[in-house]
Symmetry: C2
C-alpha cells in the first residue's frame, strides 16, 4: 500500500479547474475562468519580438539561465513597479517566477509550518488557498466590507492568535470580490502590520487594470520594515501562456524564496523571459494595457448594466473599478453549487463562491468574470443567469 | 522578527548554481554545469515551429491551458517512451511539468513527511537532494559500484528501516557518476521493490543519449504494481530554456501529482508545449538527437582519452556509455572543494563531489561535464586539471 504525505490529504482538485474543463465547450457562455480576452493578445508584436530573440540570441534563449531571472528583465519589472504602483525597488529585489501561482506556493513554504495560522480576507482567492493548503495551515478569515478587510477584525485576530505567520491580501480589484481598499484602509493596515511585524503577501495581478479613478499606492510602497512580499504577474497585462510572474521582497526574505525556487524548478523559462523583455523594449506595453482596459471597462459595464436591469433585488453584487471580476451574494437559502448545474444546462457557467472560503462557510455567493466574453455574450449570459436566480427565489 | 518555516533551515543555495555564476566568464573552461551544447540547438527549426504555432493557434498558445498539458503533446511523449524506453503508457498517464526539477519537487511533496526516509544512490544528483530537502527527510544513501546501486545493501536498508517512503534512482548514465545499471540489476531492483511496495522515482534525463551498446528497458517498463514514477525531460534532447519535463505514473499517484501541480504553478507553459509539440510534428527529433549523440560521444572520447593520458594513476574515473558526465575519485586526502579554487585560478571549473552526498560524507570526488565544450577545449582544460591533481598528490 502506497502511503502519501499528510499534506496531500488537504489537496483536492480545484473547483475552478474542473469547472473550466466543463465550461470549455464552445456553446457555453463562461463567466467562470479568469482568462484574458484572447482576441486582444498582441500576437503580431509577440511574433516580431520572438523572431528578434531567436535571431539575436537564440543560443541564450534556449539554454538554462539563472534562478532569479535576467537582469535586464528584472530591471524592466522594477521600473514598471515604480511607474505604476509607486514601489521604489531594484532589480536585485525581484525574483522571476513561473506565474504568480508559483509565488503563492513559495510564500506558504517560506513562512508556514503545519498548524501555523495564515490570515486571509473572507472571501479570498481560491487558487491561493489551494496553494497554501499544501503547507497544512490553519486559515483565519477576516471579514470584509465594501472597502476590503475590516481592520478592527484583523487586529482582534493578531491580538489573540500567536501562531500567525503570514497575512495574504489582494488590495486591488480583489479576486473574487472585485473590491479595492481605499487609502486609509491601506495606511491602517500597515500600521497594524508594523506593530505585529507579520509578513504580508500582497497579491497584485490586477492593479494595472484600473478603469476609472486614481491609482492607489501598493502596500509594498508603504513598507518601511521590509515586511511586504509583493507578487506580480504578466498574465493579465501580457499573456498567461508564458507563465511569467515575479516576487518583489527585501533581502533575507527574497533569499529564502530564491533557495526555494532553485529546489522547486531551477528557474523560470529562459525563452519566455526574453520574449516578454524584448516586447517591452520594442513596443509600448502601456498602449497594450490601455487597449485591454478600454475593452474590459465596456464589458464590465455590460455586465453591471445587465445585472442592474435583470437581477432581482435579493441579489447583491459588487461594482468593481477595475480587474476581472464581480461577486454576487444571493439569499442564504440558495446553494450556488447546486444552481451552477442548472445554469450549465442552459449553457452558462460561473464559479460557485464556496471555494473562496477556506472552510466553505458561505454557499450563497458566486464569482463572475467579464474579461473573456464580448458585450453581447455577456448580456445574453447574464440574462439567463438572472432568470435562473429568479427561479431559485423563495 | 520574521520567522521562517522549519523546512527553510535545510535549504541553502545550490553549490552548482553558485559555481555556475562564477564559471560563466568567457575565459573559463567549465566542466561544471550540465548544459547542452548551445551551438547544436536546432534554432532554425525552432523558429519555423514557433512561427507555425503563432500563425495557426496564437490565441491558444498565449492563453491559460490545462494543468496536465495538451493531449496531443502528452500522446507524443507517450509514443516516444514506448519507442525509446519500452514503456507502454498512455497520454492519460502523463503530466507535463515545468522541467523535471518540478517533478523532483512534487515527488517528495507527494510521498514524504518530515523525518521520513528517502533512499538514494551514493552519490546522487545534487539538484534532487536539494529539492527533497524542502520536505525535511532523512536520507539513506545506498552504496554503489560500477553497475549502480548495490542490491544487497538496498535490501538491508528496506529490511530495517520502516520509515522509507520513496526510493530515488537514476539507472541510466547517472548524474553524477555516468554509470548505467545492467539488466540483471534492474530486475533484482524491481523484485525487491515489489516485495516492499515502496514508490520509486526513476529519473531519466539522459536515457536517450546512449553512444554505444543497446538501450536497456526503463524500470517503469518492468513495473507491474504501479510503483514507479518516471521523470522525463526535453532539456537534454531539445532545449532546457523551455522548461519542459514530464511525470509518467499510474492512476492514484498521478492524480496526487496533478493536485500538487495545480497548487504549485497551475500549469506548464502553454506556448512552450505547443512549440515543442509542433517541432516533433514538423521535424525529426530523432535526427536531432542523433546529431547531439554523435557530438557528445566525440567529446566524451576527448575527455576520457585526455584523462587516460594525463591523469596520474591515483585518479580513478568512470567510463560512461552515454549522458553528460564522468566522475573522478581522488585519494582521500584531497579536498576537491579546496582544489576547485586552484583550478578556477587557472580558468578551469568542475563541481566538487561533496554536494552529491547528502551528508557531505566524501570530499575527494568531482563531477565533469563533457557536453558543453568542444574537443579542443576539453583536451586543454583536462590537461590543466590533470596538472592540478598531480600537484595535489602527496
Amino acid at each position: 500500500m502506497i502511503k502519501f504525505a499528510d499534506r496531500m490529504n488537504l489537496l483536492k482538485g480545484s473547483a475552478i479547474r474542473e469547472l473550466l474543463a466543463l465550461a470549455n465547450k464552445p456553446e457555453i457562455l463562461s463567466f467562470a475562468g479568469g482568462m484574458p480576452a484572447p482576441e486582444l493578445f498582441p500576437i503580431d508584436k509577440i511574433k516580431a519580438a520572438t523572431e528578434a530573440v531567436l535571431n539575436e540570441q537564440g543560443e541564450v534563449a534556449l539554454q538554462y539561465s539563472s534562478t532569479n531571472g535576467f537582469e535586464h528583465f528584472r530591471q524592466q519589472i522594477a521600473d514598471r513597479m515604480a511607474q505604476k504602483l509607486q514601489i521604489k525597488t531594484t532589480a536585485d529585489n525581484i525574483l522571476v517566477t513561473s506565474g504568480s501561482q508559483q509565488g503563492l506556493d513559495f510564500s506558504a513554504r517560506v513562512f508556514v509550518n503545519p498548524g501555523d495560522t495564515i490570515i486571509i480576507e473572507s472571501p479570498s482567492y481560491l487558487g491561493a488557498l489551494n496553494a497554501f493548503k499544501a503547507c497544512e495551515p490553519n486559515f483565519v478569515a477576516v471579514p470584509t466590507d465594501d472597502n476590503g478587510m475590516i481592520m478592527e477584525e484583523l487586529e482582534k485576530v493578531l491580538a489573540t492568535d500567536d501562531k500567525v505567520k503570514m497575512i495574504y491580501v489582494i488590495p486591488d480589484f480583489q479576486n473574487p470580490s472585485g473590491r479595492t481598499w481605499p487609502m486609509e484602509r491601506r495606511e491602517k493596515f500597515m500600521e497594524i502590520v508594523n506593530k505585529y511585524e507579520i509578513p504580508v503577501i500582497e497579491d497584485n495581478p490586477y492593479g494595472e487594470l484600473r478603469f476609472e479613478g486614481e491609482y492607489l499606492p501598493a502596500l509594498k510602497s508603504m513598507d518601511t520594515k521590509g515586511l511586504v512580499v509583493f507578487l506580480g504577474t504578466f498574465s493579465k497585462i501580457f499573456a498567461p501562456g508564458y507563465r511569467l510572474g515575479w516576487v518583489c521582497a527585501d533581502g533575507e526574505i527574497l533569499k529564502k524564496y530564491n533557495f526555494l525556487a532553485q529546489a522547486a524548478s531551477l528557474q523560470p523559462s529562459t525563452d519566455a523571459q526574453l520574449i516578454c523583455s524584448k516586447f517591452i523594449d520594442m513596443f509600448d506595453l502601456d498602449e497594450h494595457v490601455a487597449t485591454i482596459k478600454a475593452n474590459y471597462a465596456k464589458r464590465r459595464d455590460a455586465m453591471i448594466n445587465t445585472m442592474e436591469r435583470e437581477f432581482p433585488p435579493e441579489a447583491k453584487f459588487t461594482h468593481p473599478n477595475g480587474g476581472l471580476f464581480t461577486w454576487v451574494e444571493l439569499p442564504d437559502y440558495i446553494d450556488t453549487k447546486v444552481m451552477a448545474d442548472e445554469c450549465l444546462k442552459q449553457n452558462v457557467a460561473y464559479v460557485p463562491g464556496e471555494g473562496f472560503f477556506p472552510n466553505g462557510e458561505q454557499k450563497n455567493c458566486l464569482r463572475l468574470n467579464y474579461s473573456k466574453l464580448n458585450e453581447e455574450q455577456i448580456e445574453k449570459g447574464m440574462t439567463i443567469l438572472a432568470n435562473v436566480i429568479k427561479a431559485n427565489l423563495k
